[in-house]
């Protein structure tokens, strides 16, 4: 059973789907929080992922060239996250804040502009070509391989996939603690529920907005770093390509519902990968070229059948 069906399914479809799902999930958290709390669809969100990954690459390269030893991407991500978050608080203060009481469409358009600004900035600093993130072939982790093989269910999982799945899990736990146990997290949920009532409850909405950029930015950069760890290369359009599946995940989970976004991300990631599994006959069910279409189709079906998403999010 494992040899004929499970081995291939789990190693070549399910685990990659889970990995992609984790990346979508982390990205969708920021989208759904910005949508719920700042009330706009942030088109620049993919670029936050992208620039965070470039910052991480730069830190890794500087350390390697300057100090002579390599550091793990997740270590390099720490200063990169701090830098990216500072940048986005700055952008919010001087770029989005003036639009706070304007019609939503203006700030959506502004975020579209910000998307182009960031991408052009990265292209002019780092160049438009692909960069190698980590060279070489990612080999399966031997411990996992021999351990799972000892009960005849061999799992071939490269270290990078282990870090992505474990890292996402840890971030989810931290996020759930933040949103349900801390004052600022409960405030974020309150503002997402009703900004008008939040204001007349004395909640300092600007602090909540800053927290939103911090949490959303953190998750986005983590998603960006996980994505380049998986792809082992960087390019300036990678954030933009993530945008549609991340929006699909946020809508699937329900706007303003961070845990919904996580579920949505996992569902979309798995659906994309499993759509190319040979469910019928020998060839892939759908040609791999249609993977993005799967996310799009799920989003459309959800918007038609249940626009508030799986977890009853906000309707606009």
């Amino acid at each position: 059973m494992w040899q004929t069906f499970g081995f291939e399914f789990v190693n070549f479809y399910f685990i990659p789907g889970l990995v992609v799902g984790c990346i979508y999930a982390l990205g969708a958290i920021g989208i759904t929080l910005t949508f719920g709390i700042l009330r706009f669809a942030n088109f620049a969100h993919g670029e936050v992922m992208m620039i965070g990954a470039y910052f991480t690459w730069t830190v890794m390269t500087l350390v390697k060239n300057g100090l002579g030893f390599p550091i793990h991407p997740l270590v390099a991500a720490v200063p990169a996250i701090a830098l990216a978050i500072s940048l986005f608080i700055f952008v919010d203060r001087y770029f989005y804040k003036p639009f706070r009481s304007a019609p939503t469409i203006r700030v959506v358009m502004a975020s579209f502009g910000m998307m182009l600004v960031i991408r052009s900035f990265v292209q002019s600093v780092w160049g438009p070509n692909q960069l190698t993130f980590v060279p070489g072939i990612a080999r399966p982790n031997e411990t996992v391989k021999s351990f799972t093989n000892s009960f005849d269910m061999m799992i071939l999982m490269p270290n990078k996939h282990f870090w992505i799945i474990a890292g996402t899990f840890v971030i989810m736990l931290a996020l759930s603690w933040l949103l349900t146990k801390t004052k600022i997290g409960k405030g974020m949920r309150a503002v997402s529920d009703s900004p008008e009532l939040a204001k007349v409850s004395g909640i300092d909405v600007e602090i909540i907005i800053r927290a939103t950029w911090i949490v959303g930015g953190f998750c986005a950069v983590a998603a960006g770093v996980f994505l380049v760890m998986d792809l082992q290369m960087l390019e300036t359009t990678m954030g933009f390509r993530m945008l549609l599946p991340m929006f699909a995940a946020a809508i699937l989970g329900g706007i303003g519902r961070p845990f919904g976004a996580v579920v949505g991300g996992l569902v979309i990631g798995l659906a994309e990968e499993l759509s190319v599994y040979p469910w019928l006959g020998n060839g892939p069910l759908l040609s791999p070229g249609y993977k993005t279409g799967v996310a799009f189709a799920i989003m459309i079906v959800m918007l038609v059948l249940r626009p508030s998403g799986l977890f009853k999010g906000r309707l606009f």
């Binding site: 004052k183 409960k186 405030g187 949920r189 309150a190 997402s192 529920d193 009703s194 008008e196 009532l197 939040a198 204001k199 007349v200 409850s201 004395g202 909640i203 300092d204 909405v205």
Partner: protein, 239 residues
């Protein structure tokens, strides 16, 4: 020396954008009083309350809280000053638990949050049982109680209630009025906007009738209950 009114609204002009809604409103709430505002739909009752909170454009007049001018105050600052405000609709966070709603009401409060929550559970015993329930899952009457308890989490100098009994069953309506009396009995002055004119005037020390953005009649609760014009307009009397 006479004591200052807790809330004094003098010759108030206010509105939304360009439209003027309130034309020379005068209302005052003395310490420990319950004051009712009644009037037809669209008279500007909610707008009066929103002016106190800095939610509408005030064009002229005075609003003093304990003698201090609060015109143009930011809403969160108004709450910090001790104004307990219960909006007419959307007055709880539906996806937060009852307890979390109270905690959000205490956002501006530095100390004594636990004690205040316990006081609220004494005032609203129903809420203690439901404290982990999501506010959106409660009945209308219970939600109204969450909204009131949440508003009272500050050190209230005055409580502003906008139609707290609208849409509730008679049983809940009288429960809410009883609770308002209790809150007032603890020394918190109350400004109450109500459609339920009769019950409101029965618990009110003073009442103001607003029509079309202006003061029409005023008097003690008893006087207004006996006023034949008021009776014809709002109390469902047939003469």
């Amino acid at each position: 020396m006479s004591s200052l009114p807790t809330l004094e609204i003098n010759d108030l002009f206010a509105g939304y954008g360009e439209t003027e809604i309130l034309k020379s409103i005068n209302i005052s709430v003395e310490p420990a009083q319950t004051v009712a505002i009644i009037g037809p739909n669209g008279a500007g009752k909610s707008t009066v309350i929103k002016s106190v909170l800095g939610l509408v454009n005030v064009r002229g007049g005075k609003i003093n809280l304990n003698g201090q001018d609060i015109i143009g105050i930011a809403p969160d600052e108004a709450i910090r000053q001790g104004i307990s405000y219960v909006p007419q609709t959307h007055n709880v966070f539906p996806n937060l638990s009852v307890l979390e709603n109270l905690e959000m009401g205490a956002w501006t409060r530095k100390t004594g949050i636990k004690e205040r929550i316990d006081e609220m559970f004494t005032l609203f015993p129903d809420l203690q049982v439901k404290k982990s329930k999501i506010a959106g899952s409660l009945s209308g009457g219970q939600r109204q109680m969450v909204a009131m308890a949440k508003a009272l989490m500050v050190d209230s100098k005055i409580m502003l209630l906008d139609e707290p009994t609208a849409g509730l069953s008679p049983k809940y309506q009288s429960e809410i009025f009883q609770t308002i009396k209790k809150i007032n009995g603890s020394g918190i002055p109350i400004l109450l906007v109500e459609q339920n004119a009769k019950q409101a005037l029965e618990i009110a020390d003073k009442g103001f009738v607003l029509v079309d953005g202006a003061n029409k009649v005023q008097g003690t609760g008893k006087e207004l209950l006996e006023d034949s014009n008021v009776a014809r307009m709002f109390l469902g009397s047939k003469d």
